[in-house]
């Protein structure tokens, strides 16, 4: 199972990577992370919006889900690795139609762009979600990669994720020469990423469904970026669960956050109550309702067996998030906002007057020289 792990860095050739959803949180973070790898010769990012993060050598191309255009980019730039970090897994981030458009139609188009005679693509990494397992009464306590969900998907996000993943798996069975990696990520928690759970945990009192205390598992945002990076630099065909160690009861999480539970959501007819709650600023989208009732745990051992190490356990991720919540009122407004300026980026990358990234000194991380060194 893990015998096929082989570091691509050992191969002589240089890599060329395409990242979809460059302007999404994951796309931007991943591009920043991959820029540090010398063996990755080129990073191309596509998105329909401007990038939201400062990138040094990533080339941005503004393009929507048109497979003909993406195919031309892939072939022209001789892309060998495609990382699809575009999946919408939380219905609060965008409208239902746009999520469906991106998740199902977008994935289909991207796969079409990577397939076909003479395609240079040898590796496809798909960021999926543990939503494919759903959350139901008859679930096992820990889903392994080979288990199917126990009941059909009942909400749009879960249906979209299942459909998108099914088309990736179909692609994998047809394109035998492409290594396809699917990463099923647990719900993400972290200071920068905006999810239904981070919204819920920021409330002063945390609503629960009366009589239920679901077991929940999270993964820290940095670990998701590292997991994508790990898949990018190693040869790991197959499906992998990505979720931090530890499954916590919701009441335990509320305790760690230093908050109080508010078990007011009625166990029956919970769905009816969600629209008046939305007016009050509490959003519980449908895919979250079943999680608030039955929870979900995934078995993360397969990815660990491939050599991946998590930086945070679920408990540590919750604690990190709670520290962020305490700092938030102080940091509000201080965060530097980056705006993409196409002309400036072009000048920095193209002008003969600027030094190109390869020539620049490697960024030294962290420790600056102390002026009054002891």
């Amino acid at each position: 199972m893990s015998a096929g792990v082989e570091v691509i860095a050992e191969r002589p050739e240089r890599r060329r990577v395409l990242i979809t959803g460059l302007s999404s949180y994951w796309g931007g973070r991943l591009a920043q992370a991959l820029e540090a790898f010398a063996e990755i010769e080129a990073i191309v990012g596509v998105d329909s919006r401007d990038p939201t993060r400062e990138l040094e050598r990533t080339e941005f191309v503004k393009v929507s889900n048109q497979h003909a255009l993406i195919q031309r980019i892939v072939r022209a730039a001789r892309i060998d690795t495609v990382i699809d970090a575009r999946l919408v897994v939380d219905s609060i981030t965008t409208s239902r139609q746009r999520a469906h458009e991106s998740n199902v139609i977008g994935t289909m188009n991207l796969l079409a762009a990577c397939a076909g005679e003479g395609s240079p693509v040898r590796k496809f990494i798909f960021k999926s979600s543990a939503h494919v397992y759903g959350s139901a009464q008859t679930d096992p306590a820990f889903f392994t990669e080979t288990m199917a969900r126990s009941s059909p998907a009942s909400n749009p996000i879960e249906r979209d994720v299942a459909e998108a993943e099914a088309s990736v798996i179909d692609f994998a069975t047809k394109q035998r020469n492409v290594d396809v990696t699917v990463l099923r990520c647990a719900n993400v928690l972290g200071p920068d990423v905006n999810t239904s759970f981070s919204k819920l945990f920021a409330l002063p009192l945390i609503p629960m469904i009366a009589g239920f205390d679901p077991r929940l598992q999270f993964v820290h945002e940095d670990d998701v970026v590292h997991a994508l990076e790990h898949a990018a630099v190693h040869r790991l065909p197959g499906v992998y669960n990505v979720g931090a160690d530890g499954v916590l009861a919701l009441s335990e999480i509320i305790g760690l956050l230093g908050k109080r539970p508010l078990p007011v959501l009625p166990p029956w007819g919970t769905g009816v109550l969600t629209s008046p709650l939305r007016a009050l600023g509490v959003q519980i989208p449908p895919e979250m309702q079943s999680l608030m009732r039955f929870g979900r745990g995934i078995d993360n051992r397969r990815y660990k067996a491939s050599g991946f190490e998590y930086g945070y356990t679920t408990r540590e991720a919750v604690r990190a998030f709670s520290e962020h919540l305490r700092l938030q009122p102080i940091l509000r407004g201080v965060e530097s906002s980056y705006t993409y300026e196409g002309e400036v980026e072009r000048f920095l990358r193209r002008s003969p007057l600027t030094r190109q990234p390869e020539e620049r000194d490697r960024r030294t991380s962290g420790t600056e020289q102390e002026p009054f060194g002891i």
């Binding site: 199972m1 069975t173 035998r176 469904i209 009589g211 205390d213 009861a249 039955f294 067996a305 408990r315």
Partner: protein
């Protein structure tokens, strides 16, 4: 559209590879289990040391010592380490037998360890039970849960193969061990290379006698079944705990080692059935013997 959650490019070879994992590979997968975080007082199954401790020191202690006056035989038959599947007879409305078996191991065993009790999926969906039962060591009876507990974590798991046929049976059918499902528990133990420990409980069947069941009230409350007992539903939900003070005797029988049954015994359906029948027969035989030696239901 049917979502296919199987691993990519499913091929028969891949499935064989998985089955033929050699022992070091198994040990490696075990070593990758999440480490215990000592600051946590709840485990990954939702079991809470604190809440279980409170129950253990109060309600369970009272019933075990003073109300049922439990007497335990053969507790040394429960292995001190490694996965073992305890198989017991089962009876009574909201059966007290599981809690008493857990308490017997905790109090009488030279090396006590926690017992995970399997319960129906139904409870995970019923408000109140859903939040409470995992806290005191109950897990839904999913084959994957039993396998992980036995094989990967090497824990003690208690099953009642009679299932609802046991709890629903009326007082006139007491100590008639019902059919043992389809032998799924034997397969689970075989796959997990765990020992099977048959357990006999005398007393539970008189402590919470069910005189009748109400189909109408069952539908109205959405419960699994609606028993009519001396105290339930007359005293409200607390009437579920209105046990009669029957004398409890718990006997742990000699363990059956499933690893001595050849390679892949779980695939041999005839063997699975005969082991299941053997376990049932041993429990029934011991129950008859224990009941025949008992002078009084209440005094023992």
């Amino acid at each position: 559209m049917a979502p296919r959650n199987t691993s990519l490019a499913p091929s028969p070879e891949a499935a064989e590879d998985e089955a033929a994992l050699d022992v070091p590979e198994r040990d490696r997968m075990r070593s990758l289990l999440p480490a215990v975080e000592t600051e946590r007082r709840i485990d990954d199954w939702g079991r809470s040391e604190r809440i279980e401790g409170v129950f253990d020191a109060t309600l369970v202690e009272f019933f075990y010592r003073y109300w049922f006056r439990c007497e335990v035989e053969g507790v040394e038959n429960v292995p001190a380490d490694g996965g073992a599947l305890l198989v017991s007879n089962h009876a009574g409305a909201l059966p007290p037998d599981a809690a008493m078996i857990g308490k017997a191991i905790r109090d009488e065993h030279p090396q006590p360890r926690p017992l995970y009790m399997t319960v129906e999926h139904f409870f995970k969906g019923y408000p109140g039970f859903s939040a409470l039962l995992p806290k005191i060591g109950c897990v839904p009876a999913h084959p994957a849960n039993v396998h992980r507990l036995l094989y990967d974590e090497g824990q003690l798991v208690l099953v009642f193969p009679e299932g609802r046929k046991g709890t629903e049976k009326l007082v006139k059918d007491r100590y008639k061990v019902q059919r043992f499902g389809r032998g799924g528990f034997v397969e689970a133990a075989m796959r997990a290379e765990a020992k099977l420990v048959p357990v006999c409980v005398v007393g539970a069947e008189e402590a919470a006698p069910v005189f009748a069941r109400s189909k109408l009230l069952q539908k109205a409350t959405g419960l699994l079944y609606f028993p009519l007992t001396p105290t339930f539903p007359w005293l409200g939900p607390a009437g579920m705990l209105g046990y009669l003070p029957a004398k409890f005797r718990i006997r742990f029988l000699e363990p059956i080692d499933t690893t001595l049954m050849g390679a892949e015994p779980a695939e041999d359906k005839a063997l699975v059935q005969s082991v299941a029948q053997e376990v049932r027969a041993r429990i029934q035989e011991n129950l008859h013997e224990m009941v025949s030696r008992r002078k009084s239901v209440w005094l023992g």
